[in-house]
Symmetry: C3
Subunit: 327 residues, 3 copies
Amino acid sequence: MRQFISAADVSDINALADKALAFKKDPWKSEALGHHKRIGCLFLNPSMRTRLSTQVAARQLGMECIIFNITSEGWALEFEDEAIMSGNTVEHVRDAAPVLARYFDILAIRTFPGLKNREEDYSELYINQFIRFAGIPVLSLESSTLHPLQSLTDIITIRECIHENPELVRRRPRIVLTWAPHVKPLPQCVANSFAQWVNAWGAADFVITHPEDYELDEQFTRGATIIHDQDEALKDADFVYVKNWSTFRDYGKIYCNDPGWMLTGEKLAHTRQAKVMHCLPVRRNVELSDEILDGSNSIITQQASNRVWAAQAVLSEMLEAMTITKR
Amino acid sequence: MRQFISAADVSDINALADKALAFKKDPWKSEALGHHKRIGCLFLNPSMRTRLSTQVAARQLGMECIIFNITSEGWALEFEDEAIMSGNTVEHVRDAAPVLARYFDILAIRTFPGLKNREEDYSELYINQFIRFAGIPVLSLESSTLHPLQSLTDIITIRECIHENPELVRRRPRIVLTWAPHVKPLPQCVANSFAQWVNAWGAADFVITHPEDYELDEQFTRGATIIHDQDEALKDADFVYVKNWSTFRDYGKIYCNDPGWMLTGEKLAHTRQAKVMHCLPVRRNVELSDEILDGSNSIITQQASNRVWAAQAVLSEMLEAMTITKR
Amino acid sequence: MRQFISAADVSDINALADKALAFKKDPWKSEALGHHKRIGCLFLNPSMRTRLSTQVAARQLGMECIIFNITSEGWALEFEDEAIMSGNTVEHVRDAAPVLARYFDILAIRTFPGLKNREEDYSELYINQFIRFAGIPVLSLESSTLHPLQSLTDIITIRECIHENPELVRRRPRIVLTWAPHVKPLPQCVANSFAQWVNAWGAADFVITHPEDYELDEQFTRGATIIHDQDEALKDADFVYVKNWSTFRDYGKIYCNDPGWMLTGEKLAHTRQAKVMHCLPVRRNVELSDEILDGSNSIITQQASNRVWAAQAVLSEMLEAMTITKR
């Protein structure tokens, strides 16, 4: 694996998920694989779970992991070609990326969208410029439009639940991604990415529900059933993924913010005792009620803890590809 | 040891201090103990010595140590139960702590008091919520009202000095904790904690001196002699611990800030050539004069360097308890 | 080697450069040297390449490397003797440095000049106070007036190019340090330091060119030819080092900021196909044009990646000196 930016970088999602679950059983089994290898993790935006789980995964593979918080440590990068850098940016990605590529074997990058200019965000300029100028494997720790480590984690977690439930092994599970209210305009990354991965995985009936005006980009949702009536969508769900996102068409806005969209115990009653998922951080009693988060249907802690195994599976694929290349 | 939050978590202070001093003699002797174990250190507030000494101690036990500066890396945690999170906090400790507990074997937390609401600070809500929801061993790196790693260090350092002074082995040493002026209202943590530990240790005559209105919480000071005349208190002291704190009763204020309370060479003359202690950082020529800090009575560098061995003793107890549990 | 602050700390620059290039061939060859040794890196100012390359170098020597961003992690140090610390500084270097010296085997420090008071900056108070009070080997990660790890890197890179070019082995190369425009007043460190090292190395014809009023401190430039006509200076150059600096005499100002001083392809034509160097970060199309940075004459990525080997050579010298001392 040369890069991990989107579901398109994975040829066999089930095989990658199996690899992750094998690490969950035996975290240190490939500790020799990353010996004398280094990953540099560049954070252009804050991160807790993604940062910590990647660090843990790297160490369990025997790699050195170096964290660099670009903004809080005082750097402003330029990404536009031919920029005349007389403003606030102090270094161009064209100059920074090739140097970082000499210091590290794998480069991991987190960069949020500005939510101002849709075209710019959806071009994924930042991470693409890193890929272009680094020339070493690049791992997304969440980019402007996608969050693939989260989505791989989500698939792993869903598969774990399916394996524990004989009924779900026999029939296709129904997975519902539901929009939830929030107090700030959030990126579409997690929702886009979840849609992309569930569609690529192809082993479930997939429904997306949201208020009108919150359509996601069709390039990711195509294949899913879109329903605007949340109650109808939740009916017979086996998994409910709760997530807020801002508008895609009239970009980065909050339109309707109807608190009635918050998932509650009453709504969960329409489902088939659905497992409830969320990528965290979650705004309690805004996106999801306490009763759900603290109840037995929530698999959110399990999901978040699976972040380690997703990262470890992806890093191990990258390391194995390096070894093969070198032979 | 399941948690290290207060002196009450330690059954035998002398034994723990001996353990620390054994590490001082041979820092790497238990390097195998922490193999494949990880400590996560969460800083809700800044730290230098505590952070660095814990990191050093963990590494010397063969552990991986991961630092996360919660605020500067962009996170605001919610600690109140049933909060409707439509404000500034982005994640509830109920959701964060169980996930961190999956990433780490030990969780270490630093959190300062707000100094606005005494009841809230003295409830130790933050660290208690972490303990409640993490379910793994929790280590205090200083909390709202106590600083146990500092106090264990203080006892270790006092015992070292006693062992070097035959006279002090024969009679009970006199330890004086003296209030000192400062420019800002500071927490009572170090003073509370020192009082709690010296009382629990029980091997010294313990005096606390401060201007009226600076009474500390009796739950910690009970057993000590309180004297408001500093000169009288310092008389015949073997150890003088210098520390500022803000008021406890009319909470978090600066009342009297009389520069006459600064410890000077002249005052030290009343003591039995007392060793002078301070937890650092110290405001020179405000809390303590240059002549004392740079003089031969100061054991402050020795004291601060002992932070490593205190942390290593506590971590080793936690690691040993894990191994026993697993058997 | 007890300290690495300036070219004066190095007895044989060529030998040190050879050591660095040996590490470039075999990065892990001395991994045992730093076993159970620790370096603490204190950043009073931001850093990317210096921080990362030092971290990489330390790890390749088997050392533990601990990073501490003093300002962003909430500390303000006092450096003035006899200060009455009732202001903003929270800790004196007299108290902090000896403690850090107990936690680490080597202390590395980065501290920028204030550019307000020349005498103060050129006294190198900050790093000298660390050296004075730490008592362990101190490594400069850039100080108020010098950047020795950068300059050692520069010499290494120049020597690599010479070895690849038989003509340059036979005759003395011509090295030109040229001032370049910038948008902010920058320190003189890199320019001072490069001048100091090239002069100490002594194996080249060395020219410095800058607009009038941008004279550097003679203590560093003495031995170089100073030319105010950039075209004349560039003539027949084998290496062109591009760098901005603020004024030295009327200290810390921007006088002339003539964009005509930006190095372009047209100007490069006057040289002998000179290799172009810059320490990074570089303001594209302000200091250097895209055509140069992206062209075949630029050795800037090679130069920046050599930072690792320079740091590794210096750290290995310090570690070897410790081993000898201990015997």
